[in-house]
Symmetry: C2
Subunit: 174 residues, 2 copies
């Protein structure tokens, strides 16, 4: 059996997004224990010229939503960037999961050969779906997930690789 697009895109996004929702719960618990307002997380940045934590979360949600939609050949709904609390960021993750979970399986599989047109860091570009998935969609998604994770680690939230990887499908301890 060869690799499916769904498994390499939607399923990977689902595992990571679900994991990050639980990471946000740990961030909330840490704020409560350390007695600071959890909304402070949303404005954290590693450097003044880097994006805030809230932006990192919004962007990885949009990477998952738009990346999956492009592979499936449909237009994803835009989400407004208005979240002001950890709970609202969790809601965005949940909304993203619901959206990508509903994409048509056959349309996703046809995505390997689909011509994708998208804005990139170089300007508007086109590429074939399989290159888009491996070299743009997945690296971009993990870029923002990991930077958000690193911001929470930097803020003192007790997290480790198990929190990041989440519930790995098919993993059996031996």
């Amino acid at each position: 059996m060869s690799l499916t697009v769904r498994q390499s895109s939607v399923a990977a996004f689902e595992t990571a997004l679900t994991a990050f929702s639980l990471i946000l719960d740990k961030a909330a618990a840490h704020a409560e224990a350390a007695k600071f307002d959890p909304a402070i997380y949303l404005t954290l940045r590693l450097r003044p010229d880097m994006l805030t934590f809230a932006s990192q979360v919004r962007i990885f949600c949009d990477n998952a939503k738009n990346g999956s939609a492009r592979l499936a050949g449909v237009e994803a709904p835009p989400y407004e960037d208005t979240e002001a609390t950890l709970g609202e960021l969790k809601a965005r993750i949940a909304k993203t999961l619901a959206y990508i979970g509903g994409l048509d399986a056959a349309a996703l599989e046809a995505g390997t050969e689909r011509e994708i047109v998208l804005p990139t860091a170089w300007g508007k570009a086109k590429m074939i779906g399989r290159d888009y998935l491996a070299h743009v969609a997945l690296p971009n998604f993990y870029f923002h997930v990991v930077t958000a994770y690193d911001l929470l680690r930097y803020a003192g939230v007790p997290l480790g690789k198990r929190d990041y990887l989440g519930a790995v499908p098919g993993l059996q301890l031996v």
Copy 2:
């Protein structure tokens, strides 16, 4: 045409590793301009309980090497963790690229159904190749690449998304 394992693993690692080698050149240039010893980068950490920059680079090289080898059903050679300069880290990336580039294409494709046994954050585990690729190998690899990138950004190296994504195969400006 469906997705190939090679494209989803080795080719993705190749793009990111090649990009990071150029990122190390920018880090060297920044150290020279700011007049500090570039070897200082190797000991940087975001927090005392996180790994150093040198470890992040070694680990993402090993993620690429071992991940590709496991999918191909072969035992990868261990690399010693002795790098003391940016140039030596570049050499490790080059050695990793040479190794993964030489893996047998048919053996890699058979990796989707291969039972992979590996150490994980939960303990020794087994899983089928396609789950390993999507939910462990790729997320782990990008975890260490992005954390290394974020450490350099934190250190003031002028980097952006184009440096991270590198030379994206098949991307055409329109």
